[in-house]
Amino acid sequence: MKTIVIGAGLSGLTVGARLSEAGAEVEVLSQGWGVLHWHAGTIDVLGADGGGRVMSPSAAIETLIATQPDHPYVLVGVDGVAASLDWLVATTAATVGLSGTIESNQVLISATGGPRPTCLAPRSMVGGRHDDTAPTLIVGLDRFPDFSANLVASNLNASGGTARAVDISIPGVTGRTFFNGVTIANALDDPAITATVIEMVSPYLGTEERVGFPAVLGLSRHRQVFDELEASLGRRVFEIPILPPSVPGMRIHRTLVELIGHHRVHEGMEVIGIESGDGRVTSVLTEAAARPNRTPGDRFVIATGGILGGGIVAGYDGSLREVVAGLDVSGPPGRSEWFRTRFADGKGHPVYRSGVGVDGRFSAPEGPDNVTVVGHTLGGTDAIREKSVDGIALATGYKAADLLMGDAGVHP
């Protein structure tokens, strides 16, 4: 049995990686890279509900399951969410080392020096707790537009912390006309450049107990870069996520793609149609040079995202369309109902809750039998607003993979 996953965000790669691990045949098709390159590298499970900041995701999910029958977490249950987190922790242990528990959120320092609740954080970020008042040095990079050490330090100080900022130059890197987080991370993968950074930061260290950097501490050699910095600076080191392209997200992306096998993850393949017979999809057609390319399969997983990810397209006529199989989308009936009148309305805009409704097997009731829908194509909530984007993608992908494994006769 061959499964074709459409979409290479967190939900699609989770399905792909779990099936691969279990030895099932799987291919992932995606239009391009996305989500994880913009991703902070932390896993938000639930950060806010109607009542404000969530401190315990598990407790808040229980309430949410009891009160919001259409919420994607209903399909998975608290235990399912917890199991998916355990899986990701184990899967990424050797590369980024995520830690945390569903019982309580950690509150980390954001790119502006504010508080940012999240459930799982990589080893490189757990030292950056926002409520930790230990004296902190924030290191920025000269002429680097994506991160301001000063801003972070002054906001930390304004909220009761003790922080200082310093900007360093890295020869051959910060002097470039164009550089971004990935350029710097690639440079730090060279041990000589890491050594230079250590040399440049050391003289600024005083009573500080921890040192924060923008999240650029190495890509392929990340673990070593981080360890070298901690050992040589003799302080706790932590990363602060910055604007995309986001290195911590790319580390997770690479981990999952490697697990599946890069040769089974095809980018540049936008799905433009399906072929079906007898109520089942038999193949997907993707955009290609000269003519559509056909990929046959036995099971198809739609992991294309919602309105923001491009999996659901909103038309000028007020229609909402699921792009792969044309599944029914539930959402506000007409354009006038899509948005509230105020741009920044505290309740959010109804259209962002739209998505494909599914049964307990992640199949759309009126849709083809062998199509599974995961991630934000599901809708039923405003995930950005409730800070549950990663959790929903991960948990639904995880649970759907269980069902697919059962069908394929393989075991995790």
Partner: protein, 417 residues
Amino acid sequence: MTPEETLDRCIKCNICITECPVANVTELFPGPKYEGPQAARFRGGNQESPDHSVDYCSGCRVCNMVCPTGVKIAEINARARAVMVKDGEMGFRNRLRNNILARPELLGRLGQPVAPLANAVLSFGPARWVGEKLLGVHRAAAVPTFSTHSFKRWFENRPRTPHPDRQRRVVYFAGCATETYEARVGGAAVAVMEANGFEVVLPKQNCCGLPLLSNGEFKAAEKYHRSNVGSLVEWVRRGFDIVGTSTSCTLTLKEEAPELLGLHDDDVQAVAAATYDIDEYLRILHQSGDLTAPTRPIPLRLAYHPPCQYRGHRIGLPAAEMLEMVPELEIEISDLACCGIAGTYGYKTEKYEIAMKVGKPLFEFVDEVGGPVAVCDSETCRWQITAGTGTEAVHPVELLAYSYGAAVDEPLASLLP
């Protein structure tokens, strides 16, 4: 939609920049987002191109593949380069050099008949030094050796065994490399198609024009393309499909030439729609149950690099799927984006270092896998791999031909029983 019209889809996410092999190794090239969708806003009309560094784009299309919104960055860059060429902004020496490098067909016609002499000159240090000084062709860049026979000659004179059961017929597009340097690849392609019951025909054809397209020499490229279309369309109208072994030639017939040159007439479209990479074609036969399985075992473990131009077809990795059918053959697939050479790019003095830096991770991969040969679908990439590792490289179809029971040439011949 023209390539330039796709620029409005750009959401400035920077993903293309993180993956661009060239921007990752040199500061001379700021990266796809800047060169493509951003600079394109300032091109056009009577404006001069705002950024001549666009010439450092290798055309590998990695950016297109990873862009989540479908911006045709590589095409935007190629067309911007063509405007620079047209406006005389390329410099006389470079343009002369580019025009020579971009005419493999002409070079082949001059060199192949006197192969031993030409090969000796091309591997002669002082001659390469002169070439570098006069023309800007890097002296260490990978130069292939001319075959002792031209593919066309071989094809026309090969002993023919009549096969009454060959019901289907197909056109083979050989490409300049097969014609003059690697006739063995064409021989293997013919063997594989014949093993599947096809009669192979070789109609009049010329260079696909890609080297000219990627050097911004659009006028000359258009001539080549029109001439190919004029000859091939006759066969297409009679129901023939076209298969090719050079990934860049087939991509040019399918898409590059029509899109870059803005040629979309019926003939051009008919030829494009009938053109297939050979392994793509075999996979389609397999999907419909019409493929004869390759059965002769190949007890080797080899590194396979799907070139960037192959990924550019957006068809997945059919060659890998075919090789997986060969008994005992173990394939380690490279996930590296580009070998660096990008057609004629890595031959140029000012770009040689960049090309070798881009290729380095691939060279390391090939060394690590360590088989007696490497496998790659594109000719210039095979030569680059050999230059970077010392390991010779073959086309997947050569392995298939052996597995179908055909005789194969070196370097495989002495490796296999």
